[in-house]
């Protein structure tokens, strides 16, 4: 395991210590493994909480910030946080107007967030709602989106819900917008090399020297095919084909595109991919709005990339362009 760390059991806590030390103006750590906004919760605003396993920075904790999320329950690397940590996040995000639980569709996270919801309802009388993001088209067929995993598309749901909450919309409205943003995006990833979970000490999967896996999940979940590496344009073509088969686009549609590195894949290669995405979408007459290229949802040092298409209507485009600020994403006012 070639990683810069101290004891594997301290990986998560030391990461969070560093995060708040670098950005004390953005993040606070009111208790172990709970990240909230440094500015605290705004009275009367709907709270938005997320949570999930560590090792995906900026996902999840990184997206706590103005115009985005209010609190995040942080789990071990690639493991759900416990329900009581999620309950704690909900209490911190409670401004009296209810709390939205907005997270990726993974079994453990879902069960724990449900349990957390029951806990705060029983003990704190907090009204809450749930939106699970399930944008990964490789993880289940179109009809079974409740079985699909949540990956980079999450970022669009955070942004839309966060912006709407900042406008002081009520819980139903924030929930509606979050669901709409989640339902309007589709993602697909390709993996080249694995990462190592510190406490496991060994790679999450193995691929041969020149082998890649299309559709592999961010924790190494099985994908669609394994075969030889192909040229960037061929990879992008297949990814775009699969994405627009799942969510057909037509002339004049407006979409935001996120070309995201899983960690090790450098910016250079993301730009090479984006070039091709633009050509492909241009060919069908789709307009690209506010493209995002970089590391938005990673798996530590995994090599690979995901492409997310987020179809926008007027409302989602407005919310995407609304101001926000966290350490990893700023939209200026």
């Amino acid at each position: 395991m070639k990683k810069i760390l101290n004891r594997p059991v301290d990986y998560v806590d030391e990461t969070l210590d560093g995060l708040i030390a670098v950005h004390p103006d953005i993040y606070a750590l009111p208790e172990r493994r709970l990240i909230t906004r440094a500015a605290g919760m705004r009275k009367g605003k709907v709270g938005i909480v997320t949570g999930g396993g560590s090792g995906h920075l900026p996902v999840f904790a990184g997206y706590v910030g103005s115009g985005l999320l209010d609190a995040c329950a942080v789990g071990e690397v690639f493991a759900s946080p416990p329900a009581d940590k999620m309950a704690s996040a909900m209490r911190h995000a409670n401004g009296g107007a209810g709390v939205l639980r907005l997270y990726g569709n993974y079994g453990g996270d879902g069960m724990n967030f449900d349990m957390a919801g029951e806990m705060v309802e029983m003990e704190d009388d907090i009204v809450s709602s749930t939106v699970r993001v399930s944008d990964d088209v490789a993880s289940a067929p179109p009809g079974e989106s409740e079985k699909r995993r949540g990956v980079a598309g999450m970022v669009y749901a955070f942004k839309a819900a966060g912006a709407r909450a900042e406008e002081m919309a009520d819980l139903d409205e924030v929930t509606r917008v979050a669901r709409k943003a989640a339902d309007s995006c589709r993602s697909l990833g390709v993996a080249l090399t694995p990462c190592v979970v510190p406490q496991a000490g060994k790679p999450t999967f193995t691929l041969a020297d020149n082998e890649i896996e299309m559709g592999m999940g961010i924790h190494g979940e099985p994908g669609i095919w394994r075969a030889e590496l192909r040229p960037a344009d061929a990879l992008v073509d297949e990814m775009i084909d699969r994405l627009i088969t799942d969510m057909p686009l037509s002339r004049r549609d407006r979409v935001s595109v996120l070309v995201n590195s899983l960690g090790a894949t450098p910016l250079e290669e993301l730009y090479i991919m984006f070039r091709r995405v633009r050509t492909r979408l241009g060919d069908i007459g789709v307009d690209i709005v506010m493209p995002l290229v970089g590391r938005y949802a990673t798996s530590m040092e995994m090599t690979g990339a995901t492409i997310t298409l987020s179809r926008l209507d007027g409302e989602l485009e407005r919310l995407l362009k609304a101001p926000c600020h966290c350490a990893f994403w700023t939209v200026a006012a």
């Binding site: 759900s80 416990p82 329900a83 079994g107 453990g108 069960m111 724990n112 349990m115 029951e118």
Partner: protein, 203 residues
């Protein structure tokens, strides 16, 4: 032997289970590692140890005692099995809230409540080859049983469920991705449940 059980009985059971499953840690990790992520032994031993640690402070209210147990368990273990156990304990908490003694014949009802909580939490069904099938087998075995024979009946039923489901495929949890390969392999959660039941004190 009284006809009811109390918060103190719960505490005693928690401590016995914690001691018992400790020895099964490696076996359960290994079983979970066959098709899953190999953490089940840690989940089970750490979870029950956490319950045992708070057991001496269990309140007399059995519902509150179950709730304390649920919280303790899930704090140290948020993987699927941990969440299942915590959900089961929370269901039992709701069922017994405000009472300081529960008649033994009510135990099958508690198991049913636990089973239902797991089902709604995990969106699974009986027959999926999970810990829920073990619970159901145990529940059936306990109905109408004198409480003196309950432990033995439960242990036998948990073992029988393992044997019954061994040749069937997993339909839930991580192992479902390898459904074919799961045939012939004990579901780790069912195995864990058998070890838990076997660790219960005679009383």
């Amino acid at each position: 032997m009284s006809a009811e059980f109390t918060s103190a009985d719960l505490a005693k059971a928690a401590m016995a289970i914690a001691a018992g499953v400790k020895g099964a840690t490696d076996e359960l990790n290994r079983q979970d590692g066959l098709l899953g992520d190999g953490d089940l032994g840690i989940t089970v031993s750490a979870g029950w140890q956490a319950v045992a640690d708070v057991a001496p402070q269990f309140p007399a209210d059995i519902g509150k005692a179950f709730l304390a147990a649920a919280k303790a368990f899930q704090q140290v273990s948020s993987s699927s099995f941990g969440t299942m156990v915590a959900s089961a304990l929370m269901a039992a908490a709701r069922h017994t809230n405000g009472r300081t003694a529960v008649p033994w014949p009510e135990v099958p009802e508690l198991v049913a409540a636990a089973r239902d909580a797991m089902m709604s939490r995990g969106k699974g069904a009986l027959g999926d080859k999970t810990v829920m099938d073990s619970l159901e087998a145990v529940r059936v075995a306990l109905v109408g049983k004198d409480h003196a024979y309950m432990r033995l009946a439960a242990a036998d039923a948990a073992e029988a469920a393992l044997a019954e489901f061994r040749s069937r495929p997993n339909k839930l949890g991580r192992a479902r991705m390898f459904a074919d390969r799961s045939i012939g392999i004990d579901d780790p959660g069912m195995l864990a449940f058998a070890r838990i039941v076997a660790s219960m004190p005679d009383e």
